[in-house]
Symmetry: C2
Subunit: 330 residues, 2 copies
């Protein structure tokens, strides 16, 4: 295992200290392991909390800030955050208007966020939750009942974050999050495995000419193993899987996301293939992201996430955002 | 070789098509291989042109936009852009106030930018150039006479870009670029090699417990090979090499840059170590970047770049920027 770390068990705490030092716009509670905006909650605004195992950076801590999340709860690498941690973050961002949990569909995450929501209710904090389950590759998997939650999480966090900033109430924010999730689908491909620091060895193996089609963000098995083919062919496999599940038409938001170990130049090669596929199928890409947004440590590979836009979703996507990993103002 | 590409010789063109499709704010001339702002040059503004081999993305194309570059000239992977290409970009962005070339110190880049500058003079375009040579690891190397140009390129492009936006003339912009370069130093470390698509195999080899200290952005040898040690120890080696060359004090801008294959969580572990080293040495980090800004394909490792700030440099660093890879407004 070759990693820029001090000790395998200290990675999360060291990284959180690094996040605190790098981003004055964030407040990092290292002891309780959550990240909030430095300014604290804003009265009248619904609080948005997400979280999950670490190793997917910049998700979720990199998306805390104006126009996106109020708090992120990072678990140990590829391990769910615990209920007390989520509860503490939930209480920290509640400004009286309730808190929305954005939860990726992994069994541990779902259970622990649910427990935290129940504990929060005991403290009179209203909590709603949105379950993200956009990955079309498989039904049920190593750590999931149903579909896995992957790239659409970024879309839900951005779009609901904008709505919350504009004053959406808890029920509206929850409904919007569900709408974004329902209109989004993802498919991922791995070229290499990745190594959890505490495990010290790769989570799976791939032969030199082999790829995992439909891989999960922890390296969970996908649909099938295939031979390494061209970026165009891989893109077509991913988009056809998405299109078969949710026919694509109209205007879409597309994310070509790097898994952590793939050079940006290759992600642009994939985006070119996506753009050509969409044109050939009469679909218009009107918004896009190309880069590392929801990663799997140093895994080589990419995922493609597509959201069928509406005018409202486009407007919320375009709304100003100011976080470490996503930042713009229009 | 496992890469998300179509054919090794087509990577640059495919990627440029992807950049064009992803970024409406850019204008990509795929035939002549340069990227400019979609809006064209602005009268009265000095044009900023940089370039170099591809494989270092987001450098340079990802830094084209308001407050930073006017054009980028990508060569083939790890190969200098050619004079005609640089000349075409130079002419495309000249608005009568001259053009500043920002050149990393590699022999091919230096020669080709110089030839382009001479050809531009024949067309009555005034050109000045700034040579970036911030890497303290080695004097002379595989592709360099003198020191290599690495991370400080990002600082020069951002800070001079802001000044040019505010109306600095050509001589002032060139002097400022030299000042930023003189106040900046870098040191890089590789944990794994990387593979140029056209070569098909890694450019060098490292044993499972070995790292290259002072590596170049093309995998050129550094000072020495060492055993893999902790992030704290690697950070201390890098910062002591920088500090020995340019004593650090006052306020600094620090970039912890990923080489392309290192997870963001590890870069934050390194940033934590940098912050603690700086505190122990009485140096204040007042601005920072953590992420992949000047990469070496899928190489695992990182580089640390430090710039000793002045109030003017801080103000220019903070000035609004709107490019694919760096974006903020204050």
């Amino acid at each position: 295992m070759k990693k820029l770390i001090n000790e395998p068990d200290g990675v999360l705490v060291d990284a959180l200290n690094g996040v605190a030092a790098a981003h004055p716009s964030l407040s990092v509670n290292v002891a309780d392991r959550y990240v909030t905006r430095a300014g604290g909650p804003r009265s009248g605004k619904v609080g948005l909390v997400s979280g999950g195992g670490s190793g997917h950076e910049p998700l979720h801590g990199g998306f805390v800030g104006y126009g996106m999340l109020d708090a992120a709860c990072p678990g140990e690498v590829f391990t769910s955050p615990v209920p007390d941690q989520i509860l503490a973050a939930t209480k920290a961002v509640d400004a009286g208007s309730g808190v929305l949990h954005i939860v990726k569909n992994y069994t541990g995450d779902v259970l622990n966020f649910q427990m935290a929501a129940e504990l929060a209710a005991d403290s009179a904090v209203r909590v709603e939750s949105v379950l993200v389950n956009d990955d079309v590759a498989v039904e049920n998997s190593t750590w999931t009942a149903g579909r896995r939650g992957t790239g659409a999480t970024v879309f839900v966090e951005k779009i609901v974050g904008a709505a919350a900033e504009q004053g959406a109430n808890l029920a509206t924010a929850a409904a919007l999050g569900k709408e974004v999730n329902e209109r989004s689908r993802s498919f991922g491909v791995a070229l290499t495995p990745c190594t959890v620091p505490a495990a010290g060895k790769p989570g799976f193996e791939l032969a030199e000419d082999e790829i995992e089609l439909g891989v999960g963000i922890h390296g969970e098995p996908g649909r099938t193993r295939g031979k390494l083919v061209t970026a165009k062919e891989i893109t077509a496999i991913a988009l056809e899987a998405i299109h078969a599940d949710m026919p694509l038409s109209g205007e879409v938001l597309v994310m070509v996301n790097g898994m952590g170990g793939t050079p940006l130049i290759e992600l642009y090669v994939v985006f070119d293939a996506v753009a050509k596929w969409m044109t050939a199928h009469g679909v218009g890409i009107t918004r896009s992201l190309v880069g590392n947004y929801i990663t799997s440590l140093e895994m080589a590979g990419c995922s493609i996430t597509v959201c069928r836009l509406t005018p409202q979703l486009t407007q919320l996507w375009d709304a100003p955002v100011e976080t470490p990993a996503l930042r713009w103002g229009r």
